[in-house]
């Protein structure tokens, strides 16, 4: 059997196949990029939203929460929290602001980040923007 299966053919399949699929992937990426403007809610990205994303990153929210299903699995999904909180940025601000410094005894606790009012509004706007992205109807329900 070994004569029928040469190393050089295997090598050619590796290089050829990898190049082939990488090119195909680039073609699909290109199409995705052209499709995004109608799906990614970019018109909602104001300076405030951009600041909100920064606040989100600077406090590593992804370290406990998921956003569009990606992240950590300790705390709830936040891609649809705007909707879950009754389409209210004030409710989001209120929640973050009210986290006790020393947590809730015995329960999973969220830190008090001592954010400024500007930062609080920004991160709420960011989450509102995220809830407007076309995620193909994900998550299946309001609970995230």
């Amino acid at each position: 059997m070994s004569e029928t299966f040469t190393k050089s053919m295997a090598r050619n399949i590796f290089y050829g196949g990898s190049l082939f699929f990488f090119l195909l992937f680039l073609a699909l990426t290109f199409d995705t990029e052209s499709a995004l403007p109608d799906r990614d809610n970019r018109q909602a990205i104001t300076e405030k939203v951009a600041l909100g994303k920064k606040v989100w990153e600077d406090n590593d929210c992804i370290g406990c929460h998921t956003l569009l299903g990606e992240g950590a699995y300790f705390a709830p999904e936040l891609g649809n929290v705007y909707k879950r909180f009754g389409n209210s940025t004030e409710a989001i601000v209120g929640f973050i602001k009210s986290r006790p410094e020393n947590g809730i005894p015995g329960r999973r606790s969220m830190p008090q980040f001592n954010l400024s009012d500007e930062e609080l509004e920004a991160v709420a706007e960011f989450l509102k923007y995220a809830s407007g992205i076309n995620t193909n109807n994900w998550p299946p329900n309001i609970q995230g």
Partner: protein
Amino acid sequence: MTETPSPTTSMDDHARPPGDLAIWIFICAELLVFAVFFASYAFTRANHVELFNEWQQHLNRNYALLNTLALITSSYFVVRAIAAIRDGLRSTSLRWLLAAIAMGALFLVVKSMEYAEHYSQGINLRTNLFFMFYFSLTFFHFMHVLLGMVILGANAAILSRGGYSPENHRGMETGGSYWHMVDLVWLILFPLVYVMR
């Protein structure tokens, strides 16, 4: 345990497909992907019969027929090329091989014209579920035709440099096998996507 290719033509060896076995592993993997894609298409169509029937009308069956003839012809040319090298007729073989590649190029040109027409009407991969399948299946196949032409081109280059003989032309059999697979896939794709209602 030597690794030199068998000195006899593969057709003389029992129970072994022509060309390198590695390409057959690859061919099987490819056929598996296409089979899954075709099955997905069939399954989806069964749930969206009217959508698929309606939009299928927007396809250009004449172009597709032309492409079918191009690929069948080119597979025939590949067969003639391998027969020629088996008889030691190197330059005849090369001519048949180049003709096969030319038929492949014709396929690509016609397909590109089809795509151009669709795009000019604003139809693309995201238009609806039918066109998602249409573009995915045909573009994936298109790339295989392209890859097949590259492989046949490599065969032609080696052939023109005298790299194949009646005793040893496994590389041509390998490339030919891959090309026949690409043809076979189209022969399933064409009726499935363009014709069946």
